[in-house]
């Protein structure tokens, strides 16, 4: 069974630009979560999508946004990039919300803002 996939692996952007990160969940999983792991910090929750709807967001500014497509894949958009947005962005997926709490993570996208 294929795991969670993310693209691109690495992304280098300039301050002020926009970044788009993509995630494909495990087949059969309907929930997608996004987390940020900045250098020296732990994993911080960003966004949760389930059945195409944004269910919850963490303590991040509105320039962090995303969406979930009908095939349950998701993209994370970061507008007006700042240097401190440099981090590993992790996507996780899980089965339907009512069934489980377990989330399975992809390998991440390393975003570098210069």
């Amino acid at each position: 069974e294929a795991g969670v996939t993310q693209s691109p692996t690495h992304l280098i952007k300039t301050r002020g630009q926009q970044a788009t990160l993509r995630c494909s969940p495990i087949s059969g999983h309907t929930s997608v979560y996004w987390y940020q792991q900045a250098l020296g910090l732990g994993l911080q929750f960003l966004l949760w999508y389930d059945e195409g709807e944004e269910r919850n967001r963490g303590n991040f500014p509105p320039r962090f946004s995303g969406r979930q497509f009908p095939n349950y894949s998701s993209e994370l958009n970061v507008n007006a990039l700042e240097l401190e947005d440099s981090a590993l962005y992790l996507c996780a997926s899980s089965l339907a919300v009512a069934l489980t709490y377990e989330q399975y993570f992809g390998p991440g996208t390393r975003l570098t803002v210069t």
Partner: protein, 112 residues
């Protein structure tokens, strides 16, 4: 305010011995707890979980213990193997939010 705390940044154990990783939490609304293992430049890998209605869950070499009154959980790895060397994160979740709140991680090194 750190709701999930892993107070030991690192732990070294000898191969074959028991590894005990600890985690404390402050939010009494958490009702599900998980442990993940993470290698550098990879995403976290799910290891084992426990619901707040239980106090122990086993899966092979991994056992998680939950002490709700102390708001403490621990992960036991027996026997420890060099391949277990990684950063271990505990995480907690609560209805209806469902997102995971992670601890800061413990670097486990298993010495051959």
């Amino acid at each position: 305010d750190q709701q999930v705390k892993q107070n030991s940044p690192s732990l070294s154990v000898q191969e074959g011995r028991i590894s005990i990783l600890n985690c404390d939490y402050t939010n009494s609304m958490f009702d599900y707890f998980l442990w993940y293992k993470k290698y550098p430049a990879e995403g976290p890998t799910f290891l084992i979980s426990i619901s707040s209605i239980k106090d122990k869950n086993e899966d092979g070499r991994f056992t998680v213990f939950l002490n709700k009154s102390a708001k403490h959980l621990s992960l036991h790895i027996v026997p420890s193997q060099p391949g277990d060397s990684a950063v271990y994160f505990c995480a907690a979740s609560a209805e209806p939010a469902r997102q995971l709140t992670f601890g800061s991680g413990t670097q486990l090194t298993v010495l051959p």
